[in-house]
């Protein structure tokens, strides 16, 4: 039983960067742009957050720095794909390569590859601290950013996308930019906004790892999680709710394999195989459910008024 509780707690924790990333990528893709810069954005967010927190002693300011970096990244992606109309796949990869390179570059400059720097990580909080919840209480001891993600960001992101006129514009622009244009909506500006918001969220997801989870920054800190978010968006059919569920499932499998390793039955299995399991599960999920999926109507198509 405690295994299960522990697993759930870990899943929520580990899902946090994926949730931010998936919600961010959903915004981008809903507006019609595939943002493969997500891996680089999460990376840059992780580094910028960490470095700023280290320099100022405040994780909160670090978070702010991460957000700024994310917004700039989204704006750059928009410049490439919306204003120039450049190929989205290559632009995203270029952005990822550049941002990871830049982050590692600055990392070298500041920390000179010396010993691992640590910061005081953001604390885990439990709102029910006073109450005695016993073992189950562990589930509720999550980092502030995790609480924020599930209680505020996800519902707010959903509400904005589904119930606000801004979200309506994003969705219209991603489905049928001609109709949106005819209705008087500024297609380019909406896409810029979606990408910048998405970028900010992605960067927060990355910063969570350095500011809260680990308290330090290492190379390859994102390890392909950005790509997983891209897959989760498709798996979630570009809906916030489903995407978050996908993130939780992935994280569950991820957290599970960590714990399975300890069990004697699984000791023989190389832990890398188990680590690979979540990725394979996502691919399988895509294969099973991804056929003839209804992509947003304007996906990958730059818009020019003819």
């Amino acid at each position: 039983m405690s295994f299960l509780i522990d697993l759930l707690a870990a899943s929520l924790r580990n899902a946090t960067p994926l949730v931010y990333g998936t919600v961010g990528e959903t915004y981008a893709e809903r507006s019609g742009v595939l943002n493969l810069g997500i891996e680089g954005t999460m990376y840059a967010g992780a580094f910028a957050g960490f470095a700023t927190a280290w320099a100022t002693g405040s994780p909160l300011i670090g978070l702010l720095a991460a957000i700024i970096v994310g917004v700039l990244s989204g704006a750059l992606m928009a410049l490439m794909t919306v204003t120039f109309g450049a190929n989205q796949h290559v632009s995203g990869i270029g952005l990822t390569i550049g941002l990871i390179g830049l982050s590692e570059f600055v990392n070298r400059l500041i920390f000179q590859g010396g010993e691992l720097q640590r910061i005081e990580p953001m604390p885990a909080v439990s709102p029910f601290g006073a109450l005695e919840l016993g073992e189950a209480g562990v589930i509720f001891e999550q980092y502030g950013l995790t609480w924020l993600a599930f209680l505020l960001v996800v519902p707010a992101a959903w509400w904005v996308l589904q119930r606000s006129s801004f979200g309506l514009e994003i969705r219209a622009v991603g489905e049928n930019p001609e109709a949106a244009d005819a209705a008087g909506i500024n297609v380019a500006r909406t896409r810029y906004a979606a990408l910048m918001i998405g970028g900010a969220l992605m960067a927060i997801g990355g910063a969570f790892i350095t500011l809260a989870l680990l308290g330090s920054f290492t190379l390859d800190i994102i390890a392909g999680r950005g790509w997983v978010c891209v897959a989760l968006v498709i798996f979630g059919r570009w809906r916030i709710g489903r995407g978050v569920i996908g993130a939780l499932l992935f994280s569950l499998v991820f957290s599970l394999q960590f714990r399975l390793r300890i069990l004697p039955e699984f000791a023989a299995l190389p832990f890398e195989l188990l680590l690979a399991l979540p990725y394979l599960v996502v691919i399988a999920a895509l294969a099973l459910s991804g056929r003839n999926v209804a992509y947003p109507g304007a996906y990958l198509k730059p818009y020019r008024r003819s």
Binding site: V90, S91, I100, F105
Partner: protein, 370 residues
């Protein structure tokens, strides 16, 4: 009399390089160095001594393979972002085969290594290709996700059954001597992989430019509708392009194992598969372009590490340059395409091949060369 249009492909790449250097001056200044001096070290210094020129060729070798692999796939309109993983699978095959071919003479062992690596890379490309052709599932995500899986496979082998029993380090046993790529020039690291890469590029060029299959592949990438109308089997073309791409990326892995590391190691590829995308784009998806771009990036890589030693600029400047180069190239290509076609063909908005082919100067026109 043909003027050289500022929008011609070589000029455009030239502009991209200039703009990139302007952008990357920022980080260089941040590192406290002079951009001019830095660029001299990046670009020119590596070419000033025989030793470093050979190093440039060594650096270019893996990305010649991956650049060609990516270029072929992109040319067909198949977005293979998984060259990194396909490379690693090729490396695994090479390392594995390399330890068992000890008894055989070199001219038998080496082809076996190459064939094994190519097959392994193609196998890694198989599932995403199938999913795309049969079920229309986006290959971007599937190829991308298999990259971390490949790395995990490598690490799993290295920490487990393939851990070197002698040293105990997480690296595989050394491959047999007959399986190693011989060094071509003494006191340098230049190995057989480089000429093999050149051969692969030559063959790829030939197939793309001179064979019906190559022409069909190009047609599919440029206008899938028109190709289909003319009776080309688009699905099969995409599938084959994907597998060939994976195979060539696998060869990159063989080259690194047999030529440099002589074993499987964890740090085998610092992102050669992704750099291949930069090479392919910079080379505007043509084989001669890939050759030039790979050499240029090899030059930059060597230059970056020399600059880092001499000027104290972190060597990651190389990655920044790569990323900026990719972005500026693609942006300029897009701007050129916007100029060329007022009534924008929505289809052409997606492919780099489409961008390249709608340039004004006939240099990139798809008439006979590829």
């Amino acid at each position: 009399m043909r003027r050289i249009s500022p929008w011609s492909t070589p000029a455009l790449i030239g502009f991209a390089i200039l703009i990139t250097f302007a952008i990357t001056a920022g980080p260089i200044l941040l590192a406290g160095a002079s951009p001019i001096e830095a660029y001299y070290r990046f670009v020119v210094s590596p070419l000033t001594s025989e030793v470093s020129v050979l190093e440039v060729l060594v650096s270019a070798t893996p990305i010649l393979f991956t650049g060609a692999a990516v270029a072929i796939a992109f040319r067909a309109g198949y977005w293979n972002i998984g060259a990194e993983g396909q490379l690693l699978l090729g490396a695994i095959a090479a390392a594995g085969l390399g330890t068992v071919v000890g008894g055989l003479p070199g001219f038998v062992a080496l082809p076996i290594m190459l064939a094994g690596g190519a097959l392994a890379g193609a196998a890694w490309a198989f599932v995403p290709a199938l999913l795309r052709v049969r079920f229309g599932i986006d290959e971007v995500v599937t190829t991308l996700l298999l990259n971390p899986v490949a790395l995990l496979l490598v690490n799993g082998l290295l920490h487990g059954p393939w851990r070197d029993p002698i040293s105990g380090f997480p690296e595989s046993q050394r491959i047999a001597a007959s399986a190693e790529f011989p060094t071509l020039i003494d006191r340098s690291r230049l190995h057989l992989g480089f000429p093999i890469a050149l051969v692969v590029i030559a063959i790829a060029w030939y197939v793309l430019a001179r064979t019906p299959a190559g022409l069909r592949l190009r047609a599919v990438g440029l206008s899938p509708g028109g190709a289909r109308f003319a009776g080309v089997n688009v699905s099969r073309t995409l599938f084959m392009a994907a597998l060939v791409s994976g195979a060539i990326a696998g060869l990159a892995g063989v080259s690194e194992v047999a030529g440099i590391q002589n074993r499987l190691t964890g740090g085998l590829s610092p992102g050669y598969g992704y750099t291949g995308i930069v090479v392919a784009t910079l080379g505007t998806l043509t084989m001669p372009g890939v050759l030039l771009a790979a050499l240029f990036l090899g030059d930059l890589t060597v230059g970056a590490s020399s600059a880092s030693r001499a000027l104290g600029i972190p060597s990651q400047i190389g990655a920044i340059v790569q990323g900026a180069l990719l972005l500026t190239t693609v942006a300029l290509l897009a701007l050129r395409r916007n100029r060329a076609s007022r009534a924008a063909d929505p289809g052409a908005g997606g492919s780099v091949a489409g961008d390249v082919a709608t340039g004004e100067a006939p240099v990139a026109a798809e008439t006979s060369s590829a």
